[in-house]
């Protein structure tokens, strides 16, 4: 049956609605990660310091090495990689690394982590302030390699994390505030 022409004006809305409904969000159903953990940064934003605060409060057994390279993973003894994802030109400048070089580091590091059998938890706590051209590059480069992702909701307002995690069937937990992010992070560990 040929649709009346007026129906065509509703088609975009229907398509957007069906797209949003099919983008499921996953909640982690059981712990997946083992200790000790290694906290790193991809993007070199100050968010890694906030995640440190969360980890310290949860008394999780971890070390931090924001700029670790692939070659340092095995020596770290970590069984789980916690990645504070978020780009900062200030942070990259302070670390003496370009955005492209950081992306290269991320690529090699994530491949090595997979090879070593590390669980990878991605966490984005920077909210809306940690989105944009620079940060999104690191998000796109990192999320698909994660086994679990935690995001502060404001940083997922456009549904980017939802879509990326749904496409790769990665469990995603969204929290309202940074202070709430410590709980799912802690519970992800056995």
């Amino acid at each position: 049956m040929r649709l009346p022409s007026r129906s065509l004006t509703f088609l975009p809305a229907l398509l957007l609605l069906s797209a949003s409904l099919s983008a499921q969000t996953y909640t982690l159903k059981a712990p997946i990660a083992s200790k000790p953990a290694l906290l790193i940064s991809i993007g070199q934003s100050a968010d890694v310091e906030m995640v440190k605060v969360l980890l310290d409060r949860s008394k999780l057994d971890y070390k931090a090495d924001p700029q670790v390279k692939a070659g340092g993973l095995a020596a770290s003894g970590a069984k789980t990689l916690i990645i504070a994802i978020g780009g900062s030109s200030k942070g990259l400048g302070a670390a003496g690394i370009s955005a492209d070089a950081e992306l290269d580091r991320a690529k090699v590091l994530l491949a090595e982590a997979k090879k070593l059998g590390l669980k990878i938890i991605g966490i984005h706590v920077g909210g809306e302030a940690r989105r944009g051209e620079l940060s999104d590059k690191f998000i796109l480069a990192t999320v698909a390699s994660c086994d679990y992702v935690i995001v502060v909701a404001e940083g997922n307002a456009d549904g980017l994390f939802t879509k990326l995690c749904a496409a790769a069937k990665i469990p995603l937990d969204s929290v309202e505030k940074i202070t709430k992010a410590g709980d799912p992070l802690f519970k992800a560990f056995k």
Partner: protein, 582 residues
């Protein structure tokens, strides 16, 4: 076919929602217009402060000073009592003046005061006097006590009020220091945490948490505030009340000064009570030039800004910018090449003229600009830099700028700063004062015209600028935040208004470019693809930024349309800018 097009639009809409960049809130309501007075600042609340002062009969300077103190409370990451800046004033019938309240290097400063690693590459941190405390992390010129110059904010704002406010000008009686500072006093207990402030706190979390006084003020339970929270700063309120009651000496002498010196020393600095007592505002003749018969009035050294804005526009005046169009490949080829030449000169010549002879007349001359323009071609890129460049300094969109204009033609533009967001990270306990890190604006090793010397002012790019129309009438006030991007932002906005007939708001919102003699060619995301393709074809290597990038300068301005007798305010959506009018 229609169905295919609709499906395609829907899908592309879904994709752009998924991967598109954030559009600033209230994008189309930043500007304002009115018949009596306009104000444009980086925060809606401080803009309202300014308009309220104008409505109560204050003049443009009263309003600007009220905004200045309020802005220090409302945007504490970018300016405040611990910082410095410049104000450019033109009252009707009077000559323009620039009030230079830039920070001064402490008396104990030396050209080699910042220490480096053995290989000379890494700057070492400042050392706390309490050896049991954790070490400061970060370069000494940026983090900790050694990074601070003697603040000029209080001295500068009060100098402006006491010499150019309505009471001083005998045009009013009510805008006393008490009246003008009261809004800041009130706001100190209810600072809104906007998206912008929340982001600034997050981005500087590692610096803030190093200093307990800063952490207690700008973190909530050890983590950044959330958007929508309110920060209470009773210490800052008390400090403002003391200044309100007793004037500048309440800051530069007595217990507040003692507290500033004590904490800066404790955090590895070299500030002294003599530095605080000896701080001096400089009232300077502006640097002036013309662009297509419009008069440009702007800041002389210790700011490089005014000189180089005029120089940049002088170069482009040799080209028919109007015919090339706004943000086309041709016009941006010219802008980009001109910027390279200007920044090469800035690196070579610019410094505090109290210490160094700077060829201001030559730099702002039309003849020199014509020689430079002859080096620029529409169809090819100049070879490598023509002069040794400054090290390409990382800088965020720090600093704040605001403009005031009234129906009589009185104009004030002010730009002030604590340098990097949250300055040195040092907050003076009990006072709420965030200290600047403007020592970082010096060349940090000996041998440059801009090397550190006692009492010298570090080179700035701040450029609060006034423009007169070809008839010599008050036309536009303009300023920007963003370090060296200030120069290029202000120049592009002037051209957008003068060459392309844009409104002040459209000109401020328009996408911009930025480059120096050594940097990448930075291009804001909204520059048309046809333009960026054309620039790439010429051989430029472009670095794309967000669609609304604070790294392109953040500007506020006012303009008067004589045809309609309307004042317009334009404010930048790249941060929390807002215009208000009545």
């Amino acid at each position: 076919m229609n169905r295919i097009i609709v499906i395609g639009i829907a899908l592309s809409g879904a994709v752009s929602v998924a991967f598109g960049q954030a559009v600033p809130a209230n994008l189309h309501t930043r500007g304002a217009q009115g018949a009596n007075g306009v104000v444009a600042t980086a925060k809606p609340d401080s803009a309202q402060v300014g308009i309220d002062i104008l409505k109560k009969g204050g003049n443009a300077v009263d309003a600007a000073v009220a905004i200045g103190f309020a802005q220090g409370v409302l945007e504490p990451n970018a300016n405040g009592l611990g910082g410095g800046g410049f104000i450019t004033i033109k009252l009707v019938g009077k000559d323009p003046i620039v009030i230079d309240f830039r920070e001064m290097a402490p008396i104990a400063s030396k050209p080699d005061m910042f220490k480096y690693s053995e290989d000379g590459k890494t700057q070492l941190p400042a050392k706390r006097t309490d050896s049991t405390a954790s070490a400061i992390v970060g370069p000494g010129s940026q983090v900790g006590g050694l990074a601070s110059g003697v603040p000029g904010d209080v001295a500068g704002l009060l100098y402006a009020l006491e010499n150019y406010g309505s009471v001083a000008q005998k045009t009013g009686k009510t805008m006393t220091r008490q009246a003008v500072m009261q809004p800041a006093v009130d706001w100190a207990m209810k600072v809104p945490v906007t998206s912008n402030l929340a982001g600034a706190i997050k981005d500087n979390f590692d610096k803030i948490k190093q200093f307990p006084a800063a952490a207690s003020l700008y973190l909530k339970d050890g983590l950044p505030y959330d958007i929508g929270d309110t920060i209470q700063n009773p210490d800052l309120q008390a400090t403002l009340k003391a200044i309100q009651a007793d004037g500048a000496k309440a800051f530069y002498e007595g217990p507040i000064a003692a507290a500033v010196v004590s904490e800066v020393l404790a955090q590895g600095g070299i500030l002294s009570l003599a530095d605080m007592r000896g701080y001096k505002v400089e009232a300077r003749k502006p640097v002036t030039g013309t662009y297509r018969n419009y008069t440009i009035i702007s800041t002389p050294p210790a700011s490089s800004g005014g000189t180089h804005i005029i120089q940049l526009l002088n170069i482009l005046e040799n080209f028919d910018m109007k015919s090339y169009g706004q943000n086309t490949a041709k016009s941006l080829q010219l802008w980009g090449e001109a910027m390279r030449l200007v920044y090469a000169d800035r690196a070579q010549f610019m410094a505090d003229t109290a210490f160094v002879k700077v060829p201001l007349t030559g730099l702002t001359s039309k003849a020199y600009a014509k020689d430079l323009a002859a080096l620029i071609a529409l169809d090819k890129v100049m070879p490598t830099p023509v002069a040794p460049g400054d090290p390409s300094k990382y800088e965020s969109g720090s600093t704040t700028s605001f403009s005031v204009m009234d129906k009589d033609g009185n104009m004030v533009a002010c730009t002030k700063s604590i340098n990097y967001f949250f300055g040195s990270g040092v907050v003076i306990p009990g006072t709420g004062i965030v200290m600047n890190n403007h020592m970082d604006d010096f060349v940090l090793k000996p041998g440059s015209v801009n090397s550190v010397e006692p009492k010298k002012r570090p080179l700035s790019s701040m450029s609060p600028t006034l423009v007169l129309d070809p008839q010599g009438r008050s036309f536009m006030t303009l300023g920007a935040a963003g370090a060296t991007r200030i120069i290029t932002a202000v120049a592009q906005i002037i051209s957008d208004v003068v060459d392309h007939g844009m409104s002040i708001q459209a000109a401020i919102s328009a996408p911009r470019i930025y480059r120096t003699n050594t940097s990448d060619y930075n291009v804001e995301g909204r520059i048309p693809v046809s333009t960026t393709n054309g620039l790439t074809a010429l051989g430029h290597k472009l670095l794309f930024q967000d669609d609304y990038s604070p790294s392109q300068g953040v500007s506020q301005g006012c303009l008067y349309d004589y045809a309609t007798k309307t004042l317009y305010a334009g404010a930048d959506p790249r941060r929390d800018g807002q215009g208000v009018a009545y």
